[in-house]
């Protein structure tokens, strides 16, 4: 089947134009070929965007025509701005002097800088190179010293512990409850590491293998419980094409990694309605990583990715967290805050700020026996 035929079939499938036999045939093909499944998700999102575009374009035209007809019929008499020029001119008068001084000073500084640069630069070039290499030496020794220090800090892992698996998890409550994937916890004990490298012991409270979710609680005197959780958990399903991002610990060191993508289907692998399909690059270690939308609302938890296909990952819908909490025995009122949490202190900040707000609540999870 060539690309054009395939696209045509996908489009007809999405519009429900295929005959029942054709549709069944296509669905079985979709299940066995992840590339096709991905194309369907992508095209469904695209058609959605296209429909939005068409709607808006048509509505704009309608709105414009309506305005023009009413205007021609004399519905409004245009009254133009009354005070603009006056206010701007007033401002100009007020700040004229300041502006002039600022310009003069600016010019003067520019002149001096130019002269100084011309005067000093040729003679400095050689020494700058030297200085640089020296600085590197200093950094090197610093790093060595730090390395020693790090070694001195004792790890909280028991001496005979065998690390089995790991992933990412995130706080859902100020008391130290953490959500991660059940498959991250292959060992029977767990430890979490905060983004600033602090190791904390944690208890495994509840695991649901079918939903692939687990609940941990930090049980460590070193844990400083935060005042609030800066994200809210979304109960409703998110929209197709929504931009999403994630933060996790895919690397061997404890550096948090940021990844960005979009929601490409409202169902997960094989039509699983408990999950989303995401177009995002996810490596091992991202398991259990939270997925946020633009407003820093938590919408899902990454758990698997398509094996044969680069950039396709699946995330468990955030609403499942509430099911997990209800199912765990720990419904003794600890989660009152969580259930009512509507505030979202990060929603209005820009991405970089959001990330620096959020990373302290995302933990590197280690499981051992």
């Amino acid at each position: 089947m060539d690309d054009i035929q395939l696209l045509e079939t996908i489009e007809r499938y999405l519009l429900g134009e295929l005959s029942p036999t054709e549709a069944a045939q296509f669905e079985s093909m979709r299940k066995t070929t992840p590339e096709i499944d991905q194309m369907v998700a992508e095209h469904s999102m695209f058609i959605n965007e296209m429909a939005n575009y068409a709607n808006r374009k048509n509505f704009s035209k309608l709105s414009e025509i309506t305005f023009n007809t009413l205007f021609d019929a004399g519905a409004w008499t245009p009254v133009n701005e009354q005070s603009t020029t006056y206010k701007v001119i007033q401002l100009w008068h007020r700040y004229k002097k300041v502006t002039a001084i600022a310009a003069t000073v600016g010019g003067f500084i520019a002149l001096i800088t130019t002269i100084m640069t011309l005067y000093f630069s040729p003679s400095l070039n050689g020494s700058q190179v030297l200085q640089l290499s020296k600085a590197i030496e200093i950094i090197k020794t610093n790093q060595l010293a730090q390395g020693n220090l790090l070694n001195e800090v004792k790890t909280k892992l028991p001496e005979n512990a065998v690390l089995i698996s790991g992933g990412t998890g995130f706080l859902i409550d100020t008391k130290g409850y953490i959500i991660t994937n059940a498959h991250v916890l292959k060992g029977n004990k767990a430890m979490v590491i905060s983004s600033d490298g602090k190791e904390l012991n944690a208890d495994i409270i509840y695991t649901d293998q079918a939903a692939d979710l687990a609940l941990l609680k930090i049980n460590d005197a070193d844990f400083v419980s935060p005042k609030t959780i800066p994200y809210s958990i979304r109960k409703k399903t998110s929209e197709l094409g929504e931009e999403v991002y994630t933060l996790g610990y895919p690397r061997n060191d404890n550096d948090i990694v940021y990844g960005k993508g979009y929601l490409s289907a409202k169902t997960g692998f094989d039509g699983d309605s408990n999950a989303y399909q995401l177009q995002i690059s996810a490596n091992p270690g991202y398991s259990g990583a939270p997925v946020f939308n633009e407003n820093a609302e938590l919408i899902g938890i990454i758990n698997t990715r398509q094996k044969q296909l680069e950039g396709v990952a699946f995330a468990i819908k955030s609403a499942k967290i509430f099911d997990l909490i209800a199912a765990s025995d720990k419904t003794n009122g600890d989660f009152k805050n969580l259930k009512n949490q509507r505030s979202n202190s990060s929603s209005k900040s820009d991405r970089k700020k959001q990330i620096s707000n959020l990373e302290g609540y995302i933990y590197n999870i280690r499981s051992f026996n």
Binding site: D3, F46, K57, S60, F67, T69, L70, E81, Q82, E294
Partner: protein, 212 residues
Amino acid sequence: MTKKVKKIKNSHFGLLLNYLSINTLKAEYNEHALLKGLANNDSKAVETLYKCHFGMIQHFVTNNNGSFDDARDIFQEAMIALYEKVQHESFSLTCQIKTYLFSICKHLWLKRLQQMGKYSSPLNSEEEAISVTSDIEEAAQKDAAFDIMDRALNSLGEPCKGLLEGYYLNKKGMQELADEFGYTNSDNAKNQKYKCLMRLKKLFFAQYNIGD
């Protein structure tokens, strides 16, 4: 005798209450019908919204350093935001249409004034406004998607642009498009349409995945 008077008074009061609640119900019903009409591209609904509310926005914008044309553009933008809001199944408006439109316009106009460096706070207005930040953010997101699609379509060139617009925007049939663009039959036109669609998708996703 006095008892009777009291009774009459009471019933009058009841009638008055009845009349008032029917009136507010009626108003609510009208607003609801209006929004429903808007969602379905009903030109009558659009006209009513312009007739009822544009005057207020014109007054507001021209009293705050703007021109009649500025008011027209801002109102158009607010109408689009409202239109896209009512498209959602889960849509709910927690205030009157008037308040909503005014709040959106106020927010948009403030932003534009700031961009032009003309802003002097506070703005003069007699209307009450509500917070519409999340709606504005959502609208901005949709604006971005719209612009990407618009750019992608415009960089396609003809006949691709016309063919896709004819099919997806104006909902023309394949035969009609074949006649219009001079294809020998509808199958040829369809083939061409899918070729164009592939190009459009490539252009769209190249932009979309980079984001801003």
